[in-house]
Symmetry: C2
Subunit: 428 residues, 2 copies
Amino acid sequence: MRITLSPVRDDGYSTDNSDVSGDIDIDHPEFGILFDVDGVLARGSTPLEPAKRAFEKLKDPVTGKLRVPCAFVTNSCNRSYEKAAQIGSWFNLKVTPEMVIHAPTPAKLLNDVHQKHTLVIGQEHRLEIAAELGFTNLCTLDDVTKAYPLLDMVDHENRRRVASGCYTENPDFPQIEAILLLAEPVKWESNLQVLLDLLLTEGKPVEAPKDQKTVNQLPLIACNMDLQFMAEACMPRLGHGAFLVCLEALYKKITGNELEYSNLVGKPCELTFRFADHTISTMAKEMGFHKPIKRLYLIGDNPNVDIYGANLYNRYLRNVWDNYRNGNVNNRASSGLPKSRIIPDHPDLHEQTVEQCHALLVGTGVYQHTENDNTETAEDMNHNEDKTVYHGHRDIDHDPDLSKPQRFVADVEFAIKHILEKEDFTIS
Amino acid sequence: MRITLSPVRDDGYSTDNSDVSGDIDIDHPEFGILFDVDGVLARGSTPLEPAKRAFEKLKDPVTGKLRVPCAFVTNSCNRSYEKAAQIGSWFNLKVTPEMVIHAPTPAKLLNDVHQKHTLVIGQEHRLEIAAELGFTNLCTLDDVTKAYPLLDMVDHENRRRVASGCYTENPDFPQIEAILLLAEPVKWESNLQVLLDLLLTEGKPVEAPKDQKTVNQLPLIACNMDLQFMAEACMPRLGHGAFLVCLEALYKKITGNELEYSNLVGKPCELTFRFADHTISTMAKEMGFHKPIKRLYLIGDNPNVDIYGANLYNRYLRNVWDNYRNGNVNNRASSGLPKSRIIPDHPDLHEQTVEQCHALLVGTGVYQHTENDNTETAEDMNHNEDKTVYHGHRDIDHDPDLSKPQRFVADVEFAIKHILEKEDFTIS
């Protein structure tokens, strides 16, 4: 599937500059802005006032259109058009679904698996969301447990149904060829059991494996690794990352081996930022800007997800450009990343132009600036991250320095002010 | 609560020998037999033929009553009277509920917690089963989530209910003071979330802990640590031990600390065998036998649960008697066990008379004797246990030697024949 949003020339620049033809004086930005949503632009479904003012600063005063390419990078899992409509209405903006990058969205790049018979795990709209990503041959947990009614035995009600003979197997149910973990499901026990069965039998749970060591693990894609999230309760709630912890622990206990993900998707993974980078560049072309995008700014509220991810990507970019300068062009995508974090080649992914990714941390969400804390930069920031327990995913090393932003700002309005000043970019 | 079955004199011998008064020639056994049920006496709800013949060998030909004290030690979790009635009908025996030791049964000895406000986790009959154990102040997960409706947020339906304001908190809900994990529940995500919340807040999840290090973990009792069990499917199914693996992994990931159990109950733990030992001695007295029980025989089908447990207990007994001979009487119960496996003192627990516990492995269940396998004893048994992955609980060290029985026998009939010969015990 094509993932670009507008026609591009081979040199990577848009042929479609109709929007700005006749406006040759306009500044063409060399940067783009990535916004986390909850805690930065809104709390739940209520937009924050500083966010309204921030977008006014980014709009052309005449046309009301954005003058800087922007995208919204959230670890939630939803239908993009719904989120786009919501953000658009909050800030009186035209927001296209392509500008919204949910946790699973970068799985659009995984075209190796799109045609495979894929079990999708999640909650509401999971089939629709997976189809949006390009998956064409999907099934749900219910489909699998209907085909193999002897698998899900934790619930004693089901044991009794089976004991009474009320079931029919479907031996013709096609082999599962890939697993897409979109979001935390309900009834974890059924999901964990069936996932383990499929992983141990290469997707055909009709016979126990003779030797676990020779089993080829199915492609396993996990979107969003957040262990917990804040909701109304006084303490964080279990998220998709907690489900993954259970799956990993059981797989390890049963087989003695580490569970292997083919791809981790969502913040803080590099793949998500690479996709956001692509989105920003594509948008810039759509907006008619001629200059390649060189710098990204991520504005987030969570040091361990947003800031960590932006800094991880910045480190990745440094490797990419070091490789490039050293002539290792073919090797640029992998750059020493673990297997689950390698960015795949995709024919529609534009050439890398971004050189740096800057992280700005706001105090309107997860991160709470303490009263006596006058810090502004990474150097004097002292949020004791290295003393706390690491809640990140197993496949991402714990490096407390990556949780430190380039700059702390009170809110997103200050963030925009800082970016425009730093870029010396005038919107008038 | 009293856990003995009949009046005993202070010297430990029954005053009630009416059954055998007039039968002074009868042999008084110095041994008792512990039967695992599934895979030894039956498969599912069908009794095995060798088991029928085995019990005929143990009955007095005139009275039809058992001539050797027996008990049934199973890791399932049910109401004892139902299992007793089932076993009785299979073998035309009088089986009392006290002869059936389910996984949770030895929690009868934990009278320190019986009065505490206890959350009981499991499936059907969990309140009834916990009450049978002596717990007097119980609640279920539903009670907790009704009192604190903001806790269980994995299910998006519940999030929507909460978002719409359809909930009432009950701040007067009394603090949870202990947790009893009877068996694997349904909706693991809700159970895991609430258990973590209670463990992190000392049973009152209304405020986040200021410092996790100062939290006193609630008493946590886990009954049955079996990771998996065999059912109709081609591969083992997740059991209660799998739920514990998830709880332990999440607790570790979130807090950085190991989850601590106050008590592990069920095979292979020493507590269960100590309880079975007590049961056999009490039965012997009830049956009017005057000699103290010196030896136990466990007949099981699972090397890693039944055989491992019998051997663990045999090792414990060796320590107990070594201590005793060295004059360390007061220290006999702990004998270097980890905290979760310490056998508590209980006023009604009779004095230890058993000196040895022998393990007999049958081939009618989990363990499959291979065709070319002519082995009979531990020395020439070669079931490669040490090469496989350890599926036992974290708090029980992996010692492959403990999975090796004193003797392998084809079925329970051969086991009984072997025991009677070894004991030179004639039933005529």
